[in-house]
């Protein structure tokens, strides 16, 4: 049996290796799914943020976490005029009166985080005029003011200072609270039921139209929640997976393979080549990796591919060369290499086909445990604010959370989700690596 197959057979007996492999398989499946479901340009576009996220709440936690803790935090509810009935009332002399009722069935006892009305008017010259009223399930009617509507209008009902002073509390609380004087209860509860926003529109043109959408923002959203720019964290956390895996894998491959080949070349050629490689390794030891990466990030560009390049270049002459050299030195005199030389194999052929493959099994564990190191390195750079400018990554989510003092404000999910994914990746590869180490490292086999 070849050493590889034997090794894999032995690996099955380590539960940690099996668990590690399962985690890695799950991560790879997620990465593949993400790349197919949200193509790269679309992911960038989504993460740039802006209007497309305007119907999601700010800093909403995941739904399941709230329900697990016994909460009843509201999800986002919307009511659109397209689905509601519009009644046209008495019309006279080019003026039309429309009445639309946007109704939401509010089942929660906690309050929404915001209430906003999006308006979109279609007119030629004269802007329509709209009057808004709020009707609670008890039938109480609260006027919300009136305004002319431009092509695009946005009424932030929950930020209406006048309304706030009239209600005696924040509008999103006051509009949904049990009737009664404000401030009597310790912790007011929302009253479930059917709430209506009554829009009375005056159109001054025969053909002008008004589309309205009421958004009652919740406090929780989806599986993973949202960030301070209303972006769905799922985009970043999903896309972080292929980015992290690719970065970790490419950096690990880049550094170990080049290091190994260079070490083998040094051993094979000997003499000044070997000496030069040794000196370069010592110089490289003096250069501190992270400060140089930070310098490159601040002074040049924070593109993830540039960072990857720098990591690989600085990793080529890493301390590993000394270790590989010690392993390769005895091979130089081995009989099968003598034989290869006798049949006329070229130098590169001997290095690449005879020397390098021989110590690959010993290298495999190092390689696997290196991957999470680089995944965390990428996250570290992002936490320092040197993440890739356009790509969503786990580190950037952590950075945003840190920058917005997520822990201080109690948005724990914002930190815990990317952290859990990072930890999972780290554990998966490390568990596999440690098991591989015991399988493929002959010195450890008896231990």
């Amino acid at each position: 049996m070849s050493p590889w197959r034997e090794g894999i057979a032995r690996l099955r007996r380590y539960p940690s290796a099996v668990a590690g492999l399962a985690i890695i398989a799950a991560l790879i499946a997620t990465a593949v799914y993400t790349v197919i479901a949200i193509p790269y340009p679309q992911a960038q576009e989504l993460w740039r943020g802006g209007e497309r996220w305007q119907e999601l709440p700010v800093n909403a936690g995941p739904v399941w976490a709230d329900r697990l803790l016994g909460g009843d935090a509201p999800r986002t509810l919307t009511a659109s005029s397209a689905a509601a009935e519009t009644v046209e009332e008495a019309a006279y002399d080019g003026v039309r009166l429309n009445r639309t009722v946007l109704a939401v069935d509010y089942p929660y006892t906690e309050f929404p985080s915001e209430v906003t009305l999006f308006l979109e008017a279609d007119f030629e010259q004269r802007r329509p005029f709209v009057r808004m009223r709020w009707r609670t399930p008890d039938g109480e009617v609260i006027p919300l003011g009136a305004r002319r509507v431009g092509e695009q209008g946005r009424v932030s009902i929950s930020q209406d200072r006048g309304l706030e002073s009239r209600l005696g509390r924040a509008p999103q609380v006051g509009l949904f609270a049990e009737p009664g004087p404000a401030g009597t209860e310790e912790r007011p509860e929302a009253r479930p039921g059917r709430y209506e926003l009554i829009l009375e529109t005056v159109h001054f043109e025969r053909t002008s139209q008004l589309a309205a959408e009421l958004v009652v923002y919740g406090q929780v959203h989806g599986l993973l929640g949202t960030d301070h720019e209303r972006r769905d964290l799922a985009v970043a956390l999903l896309w972080g997976t292929p980015v992290a895996l690719a970065f970790g894998l490419l950096a690990a491959v880049g550094t170990t393979v080049t290091t190994l080949v260079i070490a083998a070349a040094g051993v094979w050629y000997g003499g000044w080549v070997d000496a030069l490689i040794q000196r370069l390794t010592e110089i490289n030891m003096i250069l501190p990796l992270l400060p140089i990466l930070v310098m490159v990030g601040t002074l040049y560009s924070t593109s993830i591919w540039l960072m990857l390049g720098v990591v690989v270049v600085l990793g080529i002459f890493s301390a590993g060369i000394k270790m590989y050299r010690a392993m390769l030195l005895p091979l130089r005199e081995a009989g099968y290499i003598e034989a290869a030389r006798a049949y006329g194999a070229s130098n590169p052929r001997i290095i690449l086909r005879y020397m390098v493959p021989r110590i690959l099994p010993v290298l495999l564990p190092t390689f696997v445990t290196l991957i999470p190191t680089y995944v965390f390195l990428e996250a570290s750079l992002a936490v320092l604010g040197l993440g890739d400018p356009v790509l969503p990554t786990w580190g950037k989510v952590l950075h945003d959370a840190q920058a917005q003092s997520a822990l201080y404000h109690g948005h724990y999910y914002w930190v815990l989700e990317p952290a859990a994914l990072l930890m999972l990746t780290g554990l998966g590869f490390a568990m596999l690596g440690f098991a591989l180490d015991r399988v493929f490292n002959p010195r450890l086999r008896s231990v």
Binding site: I286, P291, V294, F376, V415, L422, A430, V447
Partner: protein, 366 residues
Amino acid sequence: MRALLSGSALRDLGRLGLFTAKRLGALLVTVLIGVYLTIVIANMGGKVDELRMVQIRSEVAEQVRADPAFQDLSAEERQRLMERQVQLEVERLRLDEPFFWRSLDYLRQAMLLDLGRAEQMHSDAGSRQVYNIIAERLPATLVLFGTGNLLVFFVSVYAALGLSRRYGSALDRAVIGLAPSSAAPGWFYGIFLILLLAFIAPLFPSGGMVAAPPPESAWAYAASLARHMALPLAAIFISQIFISIYSWRTFFLIHSSEDYVEMARAKGLPERLIERRYILRPSLSPIVTSFLLMLIGLWSGAIILEQVFNWPGLGTLLFEAIGQRDTPVIIGSVVIFAYLLAATVFLLDILYAILDPRVRLDRERS
């Protein structure tokens, strides 16, 4: 007989001297190249100068415009004044010379440990000397990482010795199982610790080095420092302890399965003696190596851990310096790091020769 002995001893000494000189020379060249590379990178190969020129121009223009004394000068005169001021500043920073010559000059100053003055930054006491800026931050880094790394080192070596004595036990297997947790760096655990012990259960402060304002009495100061140090220290400890125990344990196990150890056991020597004389003595040089390298590692601090805990150490300093493109401070910290590392490598070479007789023999053959 005696003459012969002293002759060979002399030859040995001569060889050692030659070896030392060669090694010192090689290390010096290494430091030289490493520092020069850092200088080039920190100056972006000279591109930082262009940024500096723009900055000087806008600063001078701002100064001249804001100064009421220059209000009644004509536009032309003011322009000339600005030009002259820019010229003065350029000459002060010697930006009119080509970058290559200046970089050689920076290199000479750096190698002579003449760290010079910072461009933007200053120490909290107000000094612009790079030396003072670094000296002010050094104690913060040393007290945190010194405590942390020494703790990790001694706890792990001691625990590893204990585990290697009864490997295969439940405790041993638990440590092996926990070793992969070290895949995550210290700052990562720091975030969790801050979340748990500073926000959910507010037992410790979430950042900083002492309470503000700093307590007056030395005892209160030390107590406040200890409270602030607890979380970062725990983060360092958690992230390193298991992998450290694991690798030392493996190391001791490999050494304790050597034939001469078996032989000593067969002779019936007491376990303690075997441990001291047959396991620890031959494995002393790797232990010393990793101890010294760990001490050197202290110097650079850890940029991110210090950032996460808002710790005013060298890592934070370096990060700030890079952000402000204050090259003298960047180069200063790298130079000191390079020198310390080179000195350690040199010390290790000598120590190996003393601790490990095989190394000496090897050299004579080569």
